[in-house]
Symmetry: C4
């Protein structure tokens, strides 16, 4: 199979830029984070290489695999060790095209708490249509057999068991580990990681200020989510002036 080089280069560029944006937004320390993009037409998954310094990697270092994780280019670096988690999400969340994982400080702190992130305000509701779930811990067997794949399995299970829509709540906290977010582009998935970090910071502060803080009333939550993401969304411009 010969690769569609033009498409591939565009994806590599998108993944490379997104990884750098993680750094610029302060979401990544050292090498702890990764972005992947899936092109469903070609079946390419492009992801950051494992354990590589963000400041030294280039676009060409991005690693290409298929949806089963098989390398599609010879001589490339090893993919991020979390690749299998990304693949599991791509296999079950059919509308997503990008996954982001970070160890950003406040989202990890919430992940470690084992609690869902409550919807305390419109900053949350503008992007996430409800509380953000925290998974159960993986079992000893799940860790022993295929840890990274099973991390994805537990994420998917959490959405399915709670009847949540992964496009309406584009992120999750993995218990004892950290946040994963996704979207229809790397830019959107990174933005969701950024927003998740901020609303984790705010929620912790709010609970410090008042015990038993009130959830945002559901009709305000829906209003804010819908004015940005609903059928009649009116936030932003009718065209994307940024392009």
């Amino acid at each position: 199979m010969s690769l569609n080089r033009e498409t591939l280069n565009k994806i590599k560029e998108e993944v490379f830029e997104a990884n750098r944006n993680l750094i610029e937004q302060g979401l990544v320390t050292l090498t702890w984070g990764n972005v992947s993009v899936l092109n469903r037409t070609e079946g390419y998954v492009v992801i950051k290489p494992s354990g590589v310094d963000y400041h030294k990697m280039s676009r060409e270092d991005m690693v290409v695999t298929d949806l089963e994780g098989n390398s599609l280019e010879s001589g490339q670096l090893k993919p991020s060790s979390d690749l299998k988690t990304h693949l599991e999400l791509y296999r079950h969340f059919h509308s997503i095209s990008s996954v982001v994982h970070t160890h950003s400080v406040h989202a990890v702190s919430w992940s470690q708490s084992g609690r869902d992130l409550p919807t305390y305000g419109t900053t949350h509701a503008d992007t996430f249509n409800g509380d953000i779930p925290n998974t159960r811990f993986l079992t000893e067997n799940e860790v022993a057999t295929d840890y990274e794949k099973n991390t994805g399995t537990v994420i998917v299970e959490t959405f399915r068991e709670r009847h949540l829509d992964e496009m309406a709540i584009p992120g999750i906290l993995v218990n004892g580990h950290g946040p994963f977010t996704w979207g229809t582009s790397a830019k959107e998935a990174v933005m969701n990681s950024h927003i998740l970090e901020i609303i984790c910071t705010m929620a912790c502060q709010t609970e410090t200020i008042v015990k038993d803080a009130s959830h945002l009333p559901d009709y305000i939550l829906k209003k804010h989510y819908e004015r940005k993401h609903g059928r009649d969304a009116y936030y932003g411009q009718d065209f994307d002036i940024l392009k």
Copy 2:
């Protein structure tokens, strides 16, 4: 009606600069914030466009409407979705010329707590002549009928019912949402947002250090407010050396 182009350009410049200052002071993440200025002589309201990247917008992108929100220039971008909140404030707070809304982290955290911001120190008293109110939540009907306008209505109601002077307490926390501040210029309104963020940070810390922190005694509060804003204010220079 032909526009007073010279005045308009000056206001656009003022609004544009103020929006950029929000970014520089770390008060705005992504596109979450907006500044407007009202020129009461001409009846122009200039506001940031909705959902536009702060780093890519130019002075010309600022949107002009009248006090009812009617567009005054053809072909312009859509105004900030919070425009109607700003207009409601301009209609009821007769001495203000600028409104600022942000999602700055600590002020949002307080907003989400539902509590007023207590006056714990002179940093607060130098700018705000007393506790900063937190509104009630909007009702389901208020959200359904005209959400953004009613946000302004609830702000005004809060000041009227509590007999507060909007010029002495130039800002408010909207429950579950975030801060709004105002002033007689964009520079002043932005500065008030900046100060509100800082005193929210301090108040949360103070309550972490000691339960049941003491309010600043009223005579010290008045002293500090008056030495900057009273009839015999003596803080600063007699002329504004910054101009």
Copy 3:
């Protein structure tokens, strides 16, 4: 009386640089802070002008008075409104040559708590030989008669009543207001403000991590203070290689 222009310019430079250092170290927001230096030989006090933007002031804007606060140059800007507090400290603390006041976030938060700052670690003990006192509130009468002078009076009273040595504990928290520090040079006084801000941050964190945190044992406190400031200090170089 003709001024010793060479000495004066050197002091102005020292005060100007120290004020800029406050900004660089993140200790000052907006115009909230001031540094003064006293030259006891000439009787000159040089202080930052009141309410002036740190980024726009120049060395020449520094204001010169005598120890009674009388202006020594014609046509100069108004001195910092806190000048009288500085003068009161110079009159009673005979070995100090510089005073610094800021509204740095964590030191203000502690000031607002009304609590002394406990000595929890060697970071504190390296500079402050014991807990840092928090003053009482000024009385209504003290505020009404000569507020800024009486702020100094209360600081001095706190040291005298508790039998504290102002050279061993070169700073204080003024209740409901903020920190003042001092030293034998502007550089040292600014450094003390910087350190006070950091140990306030640490102490609050420590109390969040554990209730009833232990004071540093007195013999470790003394050891650390003495190895930097005692008769047989051995920290640092025998000469100041920074000069």
Copy 4:
């Protein structure tokens, strides 16, 4: 004995760079921190000079001693006052080649709490194979006789008494003082200080979010530690592409 000048210059460069990295990563305030490197072949210990401004020191200012702390170059600056602590660690931890000490804010806050740092997540487990110990306070006699050496002795004692492996837990919190970390190179030791600071931040946040936070299950802890540091580690590249 003539010095191996080429080796020495390389170590000085390594120590100098590592000290600067501490600053860049925000781990050091003022002059509070030091890095040393031991070359076991030559018996050289190179360490930062005491109390010197990080921004003004040069590679040549780094101080060389032998393992007993005897100066190996004439005319050099005084070594860091913590040298003896470093030497004690080198004498007992036979596989380490570098030691780092900082007063980074969150690690000091935990040190002051007297508590061990619990393993709450994979961010911790990726580098530290279990909870990070907090030492006892030094006794009055230990402080009086040889304070800095005894600080090292207490660190070693803590590892020995608890049967901990210093290569699996490459750092410690010294009660009432601050963190020490180590590694097989200055780069690794500095990275461990960086990571320790981050996981201290996260652990404090996690405990703010939930009382009685759960330790990471031991099988997840081992999995994460082993995938980076175990015999069959698969994180990162097979070769170090950074070199």
